[in-house]
Structure formats: C-alpha cells, structure tokens
C-alpha cells in the first residue's frame, strides 16, 4: 500500500440514485470541488463488480482514502469493508432521495442536497486517516479480584479456568465472605424444595489448591495506578508489608453489609435478644447445627417465629432503604424451613407485603407452604418484647385487621443489603439521596476507599443511586465508568448467591476482554475494536483541565506539569475531551475538529435571497442518526435544507463547529443527542449531558453575533423517533423561515 494519500470518490447509481440524481454532476462535484484524485460512478457499487472496482483502485491506483456516495453508513457494511483504508460515506439514499419527494419541483433541491453531501464526504475523507491503534499498550494478563466472598471467589476460579492468573485480595482473615456464615443456601436446582449446602467450603478448597490464584488475606488495595493491561497495584497487608502486582484488569467484588437493624428499634431490635436479623438467625442455625434452635434470651427451644419482610427496606418515607434487596423473601423462606424441617410443630409465619420469589423461587415458596409455613400479607407496625414472648403488631391486609397480633418466641427482621462500594467520588456534587449508604457516607464515618485509584477523578468506581456501582444500562450491564474495572455481586445490585455467581462469571469475561483489547491497543465497549484514540497537541494546550474534568471515564490524569496525561486504554473514544477543548488540540485520526469542521465549511451556502436556508444538524450516531436513517427507510419526508453530520456523541461537539457554521452563513443549527439526566440514554454516560452543558453557553455567542437564540436548537432524540424527527426538522425549518435568513451569508 502506498504511503501517500490518494483519495477516490465513488458515486453509486443504484437503488434509484441514478434516476433521481444527476450522477455525472456529482462526479464532477467530487472532482472539481472535492478535489479528489479519482472519481467514478457505478451502477451498482455494492455488487461484487463494484467492490472489485474499488479494490482494484486500491491495489493498482494506490488509493488510500475512499469516499463512497451511496447508501447510509449503516447499510451494506459487509460490501464496503476496507479495514486498511480511511473510508467516508455520503448518505445519498436514506439521507437524500428517500426523504425527498420524487417530483420535478423537488429535483433541484434534492440534487443540491446530494451535491453537498458529496462535498462534505470529500472534505471529511481528506481530513482523516485510517487509525493505527494505541501504541501505549500493556501486557499484564493477571486479574486482580478485590473481595474473597462468593462473587470474588467465583471470578478468581473462572478466570483461572480460562487460563489467566489471578491475584485475590481479601480484607479479612479468611475467604468466604457472608456466604461462609450461612447455614444453608437457597436451592438453585430442581426441585427447588429445600435449603441446600452453600458450597463455600468447596470453593475455598479449590482456590487454595489452584497455583494460578495468589491469595492475600488480611489485605487491602493501597494504591492502583495505570490503565487496563498495565495497572500497578500495591497491596497492603495487616502485617504492614506492601506487595506490588502488575495487573491487567480488576474485578471489584466487595459485597454488602446487612442494613443496620439498630435503626429499627420499633421492631424490637436491640430491645430483646430474641429479635435478630437474617444474619443473626444464620448464626443461631449454625450454633444449633441441625438441632433445635434456641432462644437467645433463655436458651430454650424456639416454638414460634415470625419473619418480618422488608424491615427497613422499600421505605418510601426516606428513613430507611428505599430499594428492595430482592433475595430476602427467599432467604426468610429458607430460614423458616430451618425450623420446619427440624420440627414441623414450630409455628413459622412470614409477614410480607409483596412476596417476591421470581422464577423457580415459586416452587420454593410452594414447598414452604407444604411444610406448613404460614404466609400473611401484612404491614408490621411494631414488635413489643414481653415477659415471655414477643408481640408482633401488624395490619393484616387481607382481613383488613389493623390490630392483628402474633405472639412468638423469636422475630427475624429481613433487613436487606447495603453495598460496600467505597468512596462516593461524586458525593460533593450531588444531592444526598435518601437512606442507605449515601447517608452512611456523609453522616457517619467517611468510607474508606477500596481501590485507591490514582485517578484525577477520584479513588473509587463512580456510584449510581444508593451506593451501588451498577451499570445504568439495560443492554450492557457490565459497563462501569472505569475501563478495565468491573464490579460484581451485591456491591452493584442487591442479589443472592446464585445471581452473584452468574454475575461474577460474566464480569470475568469482560475483564479478560479488557486485557485482550488493551494489549492490541483497541477500544473497549461501546466502540469495541476501534483503533482510533485521542491525540493531544500539548504545545497548544493551555492547561485548562476541562478534558481531565469532563472525561466520563476518568481516562485523563494530569502530569507534574499539569498537562493532561492520556491513558488511552482507559479511554472509550467518545470524544468528550475533544468537544471540551477550547483550543482544539485534541483529535482522533478519523474524527477531529477538522473532519467535522471541514464538512461544515464544504457546504455550499446559497445567498441571502435564494430562499434556500441551510440548517446544520449534528446528530448522535448511536440514536439520532439511525432514527433519521429509519425515517428515510419509511420515506418520511423532511426539509431539503438540512445537512446532517453524525457525531460520536453530543459530548464530542466542539462549540467552534457551531460558531463556524453560523459565521459561514448557516441559518440554523440543530443538535440531536440522547436523553440525559437520571434516566440518561447516552452510551457514554455523561457525554450528552456534558455536551449540553457546554452548549447551553452558546446563547452568549449568539448574542455576541447579534443572532436570535433560535438559530441553535438542542433536541433530545431517541432511536424510536422515526416520526418525530422529520416533524422536528420541518418545524424548525419553518421557524427559520419565520426568523429570516442569516445575515452572515454574504461574508
């Protein structure tokens, strides 16, 4: 392949393009205005023959850069697959002929639209080069697992089984975590009828026997530096020694604590030793070792027990946990069976408001009923200790008896889980949420960092609500905002052992994947495999820190001289840094201020009196752009005055594009990005939010230019908006006509 840049443009005439457009004119535009070295048209470019033509030009003509004027970049990707070359696509089908009426009157504007897209495609391709991959790779293949409970042990064993060495750090003196304190577990196999062995001892033995797994007990992570493939982790042990390990990826399996039952005095906790939480009951069961369970107060066998579900949970009042811990219904059923399996005459009552036993948990529920466990739908108001027994006062919701009472020997409170997620790095920036760990974080002792990340953005993985580190995404549950670091188990969502094991297995794959991608210099999800990466021209940098502050993934640190220090393997290639940079020194090989800026400038702006306004649309390529494409497939018409440029994320939009467009005489700019806020849909988490924040300042610019604020419009567009988007465009086009043409045209 020739090292010299040679650009070729190909105009397809298939799918009606040849009939609706003047292809020769477009070839002419590519040659004369786009200034490409080679321009051709073809009747059916995606055919074998068409693709061979391009391949032959690459081989024989030394073409390095390819501009294809045909269908959308989302279509015919197998045919137009040239991984060694820089490729740009001008969307003439979905973006032009399918959204315009096939009428004589529309012909001129449709052709103009197509010609502009050819100009833009040529401009873009000239400004880009094929990405070569991040050279700053790492080579460690070792997984660090933080936490030696069921989740952590699962991750360690699975990774080892896949052929990757593991370092396992556990803060206590033994492996097993909470699960090791259980008497039995909830069954996970047919027939789902009786409590089962926890299997923890077996896992511990397997880990101890595995030469591939190095275990640090009584140890914590003192410092984590680096990036995927090249993390440098210091492990401090109780004895004071510090070890350093080279790590490829990290799994945080730091689990959860039971919600503190001392916060529930109305339910008798702390007032009577016969009121215990679920962990307390497990301790009683282990002490009984299969024999009758004894009342803590007097050591006599328990004859009756009540389980209070949702104790301190699902509290809409804001005092306690507002979430449901998910596993407690099954756990109480299991614990009731501890009694019933030993002695069917022990009365066991489970007081619940909604019994939650999903999947085959329903069989476990039925089995408990068969064993004589009583289930009552009721809201427990209080538990009052008496001389010999405890009185549970509750509102029986079925019998609508507000003064229902139950006299029992023992009360078990199902208090749920609170995650051990370390420091909430965003705590100062966000309003404190009700209840839970967030409260604990601010009101009580400052939590201790778990990973001690030496990242500009803070020492731990960012949290969502209530201290959980879970991904917000439904389709992509493993996406944290720290590349190569995956959280698993109840630290990210309340869960039971079965789920934790599944979760840990999946996260192990993601961690291994991160290691593999980091070695090859490729991006991780959602642009997995992307070889481009941000490059910074430090000589132009003003050390304003916007990039280091805004990066949604904490990829950029600051060096001693306070210049941004890019850790490419942490980067997800969203371009938010590029959008943030006021001096425009950050760029990707195939996506830069220039690749977009030159497209904006390439558009032919008709004069003030043409009655042909020009509207620039910067559309998120993940949602808005596909929505526009599908609107095209439905032949939903929209204005011929718009020129659409896909962007990686709204966060990557640099305000210079907008000011340049307005200065160049565009009459309006529409920004289409994903929903932000609590239910954000941005694939880069904060990208669209940051982009929007930046753009909210554009009003000042408009005022300085003496332009109406309506000249720029920021819109939330979802991928399903195939009907809305054309309507939005058309309304905006009408609005622009109302405001009038931009005064900047003649300049």
């Amino acid at each position: 392949m020739s090292a010299e840049k040679k650009v070729a443009a190909y105009i397809c005439k298939g799918c009606g393009l040849g009939e609706r457009l003047d292809a020769d004119a477009l070839v002419n535009v590519a040659q004369k205005e786009g200034k490409v070295q080679l321009a051709r048209s073809h009747d059916f470019l995606c055919s074998e023959e068409g693709v061979d033509l391009i391949k032959s030009d690459i081989a024989n003509e030394g073409v390095t850069h390819i501009m294809i004027g045909a269908c959308s970049r989302r279509a015919k990707t197998e045919a137009f697959y040239f991984p060694q070359n820089a490729v740009a696509r001008a969307n003439l089908r979905e973006g032009v002929i399918w959204i315009r009426p096939d009428t004589e009157e529309a012909r001129e504007t449709t052709q103009e639209m197509a010609a502009d897209y050819i100009r833009m495609g040529c401009a873009e391709i000239k400004a880009m080069s094929a990405p070569a991959g991040n050279p700053n790779t790492g080579s460690s293949r070792t997984l660090l697992v933080v936490g030696g409970g069921v989740s952590g042990m699962t991750a360690a064993l699975e990774a080892s089984r896949t052929g990757y060495p593991v370092v396992l750090v556990e803060k206590s003196g033994q492996l097993g975590g909470w699960a090791a304190k259980l008497w039995r577990r909830i069954p996970v196999h047919e027939p789902f009828k009786a409590p089962a062995d926890t299997g923890v001892a077996d896992m511990v033995a397997q880990i101890q026997a595995d030469p591939n797994i190095k275990v640090y007990l009584n140890a914590t992570v003192a410092k984590t530096d680096g990036a995927p493939g090249r993390f440098e982790v210091q492990i401090a042990t109780e004895s004071g020694s510090v070890a350093t390990e080279d790590i490829g990826a990290i799994i945080q399996a730091t689990g959860a604590e039971p919600y503190d039952a001392n916060k529930l005095p109305e339910l008798g906790y702390g007032k009577s030793p016969d009121v215990v939480d679920q962990a307390g009951l497990e301790a009683l069961a282990r002490a009984a070792n299969g024999g009758p369970m004894l009342k803590p107060s007097n050591g006599k066998p328990v004859k009756s027990v009540a389980f209070v579900q949702c104790a301190g949970q699902r509290d809409a009042g804001g005092q306690h946990l507002s979430y449901c811990s998910g596993y407690c219904c099954n756990a109480s059923i299991k614990q009731a069976m501890y009694f019933k399996d030993g002695n069917p005459d022990v009365d066991t009552t489970i007081l619940f408001t909604d019994l939650r036993t999903p999947g085959n948990g329903e069989d476990f529920y039925r089995s408990a009923q068969e064993k004589g466990v009583i289930f009552s739908k009721g809201k427990v108001a209080s538990v009052s200790p008496g001389a010999d027994a405890l009185t549970v006062n509750f509102h029986d919701l079925i019998l609508d008896d507000k003064d229902a009472r139950l006299e029992v020997d023992l009360v078990v409170l199902a208090t749920g889980q609170v995650p051990n997620s370390g420091v909430d790095i965003e705590a100062p920036n966000k309003p404190q949420v009700e209840g839970g760990a967030a409260d604990a974080a601010t009101v009580e002792a400052k939590p201790i960092s778990i990973l001690n990340l030496q990242y500009r953005q803070g020492p731990d993985v960012p949290q969502l609500k209530w201290g959980f580190t879970d991904s917000h995404f439904i389709c992509f549950p493993y996406e944290t905002r720290r590349t190569g670091i995956y959280t698993v188990g109840p630290v990210r969502r309340p869960m039971d052992m079965a789920q934790a094991r599944e979760d840990a297995t999946g996260a192990t794959l993601k961690a291994i994947q991160a290691i593999e991608n980091a070695q090859l210099g490729r991006a991780a999800h959602p642009r997995s495999g992307d070889l481009s990466f941000p490059k910074v021209r430090l000589e132009g940098c003003t050390q304003c820190k916007r990039c280091t502050v805004e990066c949604p993934f904490g990829a950029i640190d600051e060096d001693e001289r306070r210049f941004p220090l890019f850790n490419e393997s942490r980067c997800r290639r969203c371009g938010t840094c590029m959008g943030a940079c006021p001096v425009r020194v950050i760029s990707f090989e195939n996506y830069s201020v220039d690749t977009v800026g030159s497209q904006i400038k390439a558009v032919d702006i008709p004069d003030e009196f043409s009655e042909k306004p020009r509207i620039l649309i910067l559309a998120c390529e993940n949602d808005a752009y596909p929505a526009l494409d599908m609107a095209g497939m439905q032949h939903n018409e929209y204005s011929a005055f718009v020129r659409i440029i896909p962007v990686r994320c709204l966060g990557s939009v640099n305000t210079i594009w907008i000011t340049d467009a307005l200065n160049a005489g565009y009459d309006g700019v529409m920004l289409m990005g994903c929903k932000h806020g609590e239910n954000y849909q941005c694939h880069f988490v904060k990208g669209s939010e940051l982009g929007r924040y930046r753009l909210s300042k554009i009003d000042d610019t408009l005022k300085n230019l003496n332009l109406e604020t309506d000249r720029v419009r920021d819109l939330e567009v979802a991928i399903a908006d195939i009907e809305h988007v054309p309507a939005m465009i058309n309304q905006y086009a009408e609005r622009i006509v109302e405001i009038g043409m931009s005064p900047f045209k003649s300049f």
């Binding site: 039925r366 009923q369 009583i374 289930f375 029986d396 079925i398 019998l399």
Partner: protein, 210 residues
Amino acid sequence: MSANAQMATKYKNNFLKEVEEQVEMGEWVKMCMQCGVCSGSCPTNFHPGWEHPPQEIFMMIRAGKREEVLTSPSMWMCTSCYNCIVRCPRKLPITHIMHGLANYAHRLGVAPKMQPTRSFAKLFWNNCVKTGRVNELKLSVGLYFKDGLSQGIRNGMAMKDVALGLLKAKRLNPFELFGGHKCKDQNGIHAMLKKARELEEKRKALKAAA
C-alpha cells in the same frame, strides 16, 4: 362439654391444624396464595349474605378465627359449580374444602341454625339414604315444612304453580308420598353407611388424639 368445645380444647387454638386434620381436604388450606380468583369466580359472590369468600375464609383459618369461620353462613352458599376449582392457580379443591368446612361446622353443631341450605342438605341426605334413592316429592314437602306447618303450607302454596306444571308433565308423582322408588337392599345400605360413619369418626378422633 360440647363437641365444639372439645375440639377447640384439643387443638389449643391451632385452628389451621384442626382444619387440616378434621376437615375434608383441609390440608390444602395452607397452600392458598391469596390471589382471590376463587372469590371472583363464585356465582353467589354477588349476592348478599355471602360474608367471606373462600380465599378470605382460608386466611381466617390461618389467623385462627375459629368461631367466625365455623359459624359463618358463607360455606353454605356453595352451588358446587366448580368454577373455583378449575381456575385456582394452586389447584386447591376449593369446592370440597368449603363443603368440608360446612360439614365440620354442622357436625360440631355450630353452623348457623336457620341456614336453609344446611336444612336442605340434611333433608336430602336423610331422604336419599332412607331408601337408597331420592324421593323428590318428600324432599320438597320436607323442605317446605321445615319451619313448621303453617309456614309449610304457605311455602307449598307459593310453589303450587311449579308443582302443577311438573304434575301435568308427569314429572311429579303424588303417589311418591306413599312409598315410591327404593332400593331392594335397604338394610345393606344402612349397615354400610353406619360402618362408614364409624370408620370416619374413628380416624378423625385418632388424629385429634395424636
């Protein structure tokens, strides 16, 4: 001590256990998950006099509301339509449980005294086992006269048109009052039923004693 008091004492207020052991299909009560499909399926649901639907009765049993359950007229509202049975997601034999509860309350002598279905059920049984076959005329007459002679005549008069219609259609035979259809081996039937009752009582007493 009444039969009722005896049982209450024996089961020490564990009414659920009492029902499980003494009531036909009572062991199913604990399996109810309170969805209410039985209650909504009952054809007499929308009539007054129906205090507690099956699902609520089951909850009351679990809550130990012995007196309220056994004296309730609700079980006597069952038309044996079996809607509840075929719809119950837990496959509880609800019709039979309701029958069983009614039977138990009746046995203990605590079922509502004036409950008409109770009277009719008693009449029906006695009528059919007397000769081995039902004598419809005697059954009707017995029903009308259950509350005494004058009420009986009034009831009879009210049903006069129905009776006349059947009479004309030869589906009511006045001579049934004097004899009528019967099985040949009435003695055998009586002995057999006596034995059956003894065996059943023995089994239930054994359970209560355990």
